[in-house]
Symmetry: D2
Subunit: 144 residues, 4 copies
């Protein structure tokens, strides 16, 4: 089982602050592995909404998640504050590979990192469509 090395914050292009919640801690007193994916979704979609590249209610194109992955390097726990770093590793014809790092505030080395692949589909037919121009323009600056 190959194990990636934690990235530093400088590897990422955009950041979102995240406040943790009491319920994020599991029975072992650390943020449960599942919850990191809530942060992935949040930094990706928050960026897209802020850029005007995602219209949840009425947009003709929506992103379906087809693959997610996370490696966990060291535990974090409520009441830590975190930030999520975001970069785009690949802009395909109709898919995007986002990479996310989760940093405990003040840390430069990721506590966890992973990826997230969106395939963009027509909302009605659910068939893949070429990435809309607005989306490509929003994501190109995040390519690393």
């Amino acid at each position: 089982m190959e194990k990636p090395s934690p990235l530093s914050a400088s590897a990422f292009a955009h950041f979102a602050d995240i406040t943790t919640r009491w319920i994020d801690n599991d029975v072992y007193g650390h943020i449960n592995n599942v919850v990191y994916y809530e942060f992935f979704d949040t930094v990706v979609n928050g960026y897209l909404i802020a850029q005007g590249a995602l219209d949840i209610a009425t947009g003709a194109v929506i992103g379906l998640v087809v693959e997610t992955h996370c490696n966990y390097f060291k535990p974090v726990a409520f009441p830590d504050t975190l930030r999520a770093g975001l970069r785009v590793a690949k802009l395909g014809t109709s898919s995007v590979r986002y990479e996310v790092g989760i940093f405990r505030n003040g840390d430069d080395t990721a506590a966890a990192q992973g990826h997230f692949v969106h395939v963009y589909v027509d909302r009605a037919t659910q068939r893949p469509v070429p990435l809309p121009e607005t989306l490509k323009q929003a994501l190109t600056p995040l390519l690393r």
Copy 2:
């Protein structure tokens, strides 16, 4: 069904910032009613931890939740940022009634508000115990 009026921020004594998450929105595009209780837990326990009045891992006394309640006045949605206001309405012998207001950032009127009753029990026996002095000292400034 009597309906309380939304409180203003000045009714509360302590505040915690809360970042919302993509997953908080339900199928109707607003933060689901359940999630507000995650904020309640977070502002209460975050305050207690910051005051040194709650030691999750090893404290002899823990707070059991015996009652929760929330009224919802207007919807909030990811990616809104929120703050949770906290006050203590009653310090009993072994119980505390916390009241919480959820404000959309910048708003002075609560989007939702509710309460939360903790009974403090011995961790081992789970029997109610008088509120520890540290806890009373931490909570007295929040009485309104």
Copy 3:
């Protein structure tokens, strides 16, 4: 602080089985107070969907939650299986008061119980509307 008594299963009119999840347990090893409201939502909306009285995607009328409440009598924990009992305490002009009991499987006495008030609104205008006939017919058998 008045404290209600736990109801028996015979007080409820409809039941839904619920499997608990590892993440439901919080740091104290019991299902967190927040999670019970996930069960409330589930038994109410599951019943409505099964009766054809709620069309999430396209129905003209949706239920907004305006008040929720829960009392907790004894802890439950993953991997317990649970069932949620449902009854309707009041059918108003445009609102419904649902009452829910959470039972550990095999138990006849509620581990927790609470209520949940829906106001039915027009999906577009979000203004209250009289309860649709389909909904009244679905809920009348649950009145206790």
Copy 4:
């Protein structure tokens, strides 16, 4: 981006039934990608608890999650009932690779599948330890 094929139920050795919840559906009306990992945790830990191979509260050895991964093939949604299939792909010295498939009830082809790597550590020191005998005996029948 290589894409795995969905497995059939016969590829798995143990199954757990899962009831979905209203809150599992996200704004697009399907179970959010994050929630599948709640099912992974649940089928793994539920199996270990049932086998007496995991003592959450007092066991000397606990499983830390170091890697998780999921591929999503077709959407599922509340109120679907699901089952999670579990197998063990690798028993290492101190780590285990679990593989999980999520099936909509009645389906023989996975709607989603992924893996989950546990490293077993001493609860106090958090250092890896050889897999306890009880754990190896519980997991060997799941090897596929």
